[in-house]
Amino acid sequence: MTLQIPSIHYLAILPVLIFFGAALLLMVGTALLRSKVSIAVATSTTVAVSLASLVVNFFQWRCVAKAGASTTIAHAIVLDDFSVIASAVIAVAVLMTALVAHDWAIRERVSGVEFHIMALASSGGALLMTQANDLIVIFLGLEILSLGLYVLVAFDRHRATSSEAALKYFLLGGFASAIFIYGAALVYGATGSTNLTSISYFLGSNVLLRPGLLYAGGALLLVGFAFKVAAVPFHLWSPDVYEGAPTPVTGFMAAVVKVGAFAALVRVLISSLGTQLDTWRPILWVLVVLTTVVGASLAIVQRNAKRMLAYSSINHAGFILLGVWAGTIRGTAATLFYVMTYAPVVVASFAVLTLVGGVGDEHHSIEYYRGLARRQPWLGGALCVLLLSQLGAPLTTGFYAKFAVLASVVDAGGGALALIALVSAAIAAYFYLRWAMALYADDDVEGVRVEVPRLTGAVIGFGVAVTILFGVWPGPLATLAQHATVLFTP
């Protein structure tokens, strides 16, 4: 008797392998070596891994261009342009986070090797989610991503709020995962498979007489995703966790979780449940309206910079959902373009917050930002540009990102929805501008000077450069996003 092993296309899973391999290597290394592994080694490993992953992404892109998109390992993993671009975005976000975390760990005197192990493993989970073509693989990716993050959130042992945030995140995250996998079980019962392609074929070639099971399963999957991307009304954990987590981790969460979860959401809703578009669209409509409006409105009343960015990221999640709502190829491209431009901006924003937070990571009241741009024009100016990009001001990438999702929604016949989202953007603009004005206030010029370490400064500079460069000249990024179609779009 022989056992057949499904064929494995190693190039497709190479980024995931690199990330998990490096995490394992670092972990075993720290356990075996008698001398302590220095944080510089850990940081360089993460940087090297991210760069290697980007190089692999380049070859994957060429492979897809030559041989077309494909599935591997019994159709559980996809290699298409969409996954390649999403992986590259994750790698960039990890690279930026690692540099910020390096300076943060030195300042806070936490030994940081475990930080990088968790960050690498966690991003490996996110990479898996971008390529998953099976509900179970999505679940595994989601869990690997989340388990690493729970630990990262609890990483700051000097502050009680850090572990408190971790417990809240853990309990609600576990709840969300259980709901997600129950949804997967019901979809399996209704369609006979957990493979997204098989589900799509089944729904395309059969008429469900009693679709209740499928609808219930789909709804539970959607709730699980909504929890992870913090869509209203499943957002309650996010401000607390964003505030309690160490600030570099908050930036990592805001970027990497969003890329992973939205990539998987696009695959589930569009390439697998695309035939049920008319059923999930109204639900998503309500989610988008609530998420954009509530996120923007509650951001206004916050006095803590981290909480403000938490609500702002809820608002952004609503905008990214807009592209998913459209359900078209154009909508998918807009979703991808949005996360591509949002990820570097949000990591850089939280890098500024890390610096202003000072030793102990506690100076996050909005008061600490008064006059920052007068005292330190470069740092304050950078934050100002990053805020304007999140606002969606012209000449920044945020403008084109918002424009792309709104255009795709109007194209798909959602004029009212686009209008509501625009109103929410206007509400959000109020608090971004208020913050930007506070940066240039001249009544508090003698405040504390914030120290800017070199690596963190480079990350902030990179974020600003990306948002301005591609804000003025969005062509290359937009072309990438447009070419990055999802395999099996109906």
Binding site: E164, A178, I181, A185, G189, S193, G244, N304
Partner: protein, 101 residues
């Protein structure tokens, strides 16, 4: 005696409901934690039942993945619970009120 498959599904749904209800109402972190485990095991029962009705082995294989995930969650979760309540007298989540706004 023949037990209809639907009964298993209903039992699983009830277990899942108990878990979800417990998670939302109980205040002890450890019990909330047990509720998550209960929900995951309800999912396992659902998978096995569907696996039988569909005559498809995949559902039973998936159960192992869910179990491994549940075990990993326990490891991380208990670590966090210990870290949080080392400086507090009880494991009630009501004591965690520093993050508000």
């Amino acid at each position: 005696m023949n037990v209809p498959a639907a009964w298993y599904l209903v039992l699983a749904a009830i277990l899942f409901g108990i878990g979800a209800f417990g998670l939302l109402t109980r205040r002890s972190a450890l019990i909330m934690f047990m509720c998550i485990e209960l929900m995951l095991n309800a999912v396992n029962l659902t998978f096995v039942t569907f696996s039988r009705t569909l005559s498809d082995i995949d559902g039973q294989a998936i159960v192992f993945f869910v179990m491994v995930v549940a075990a990993a969650e326990v490891t991380v979760g208990l670590g966090i619970v210990v870290a949080v309540f080392r400086r507090r007298p009880s494991s009630s989540v009501d004591e965690l009120s520093e993050l508000k706004g």
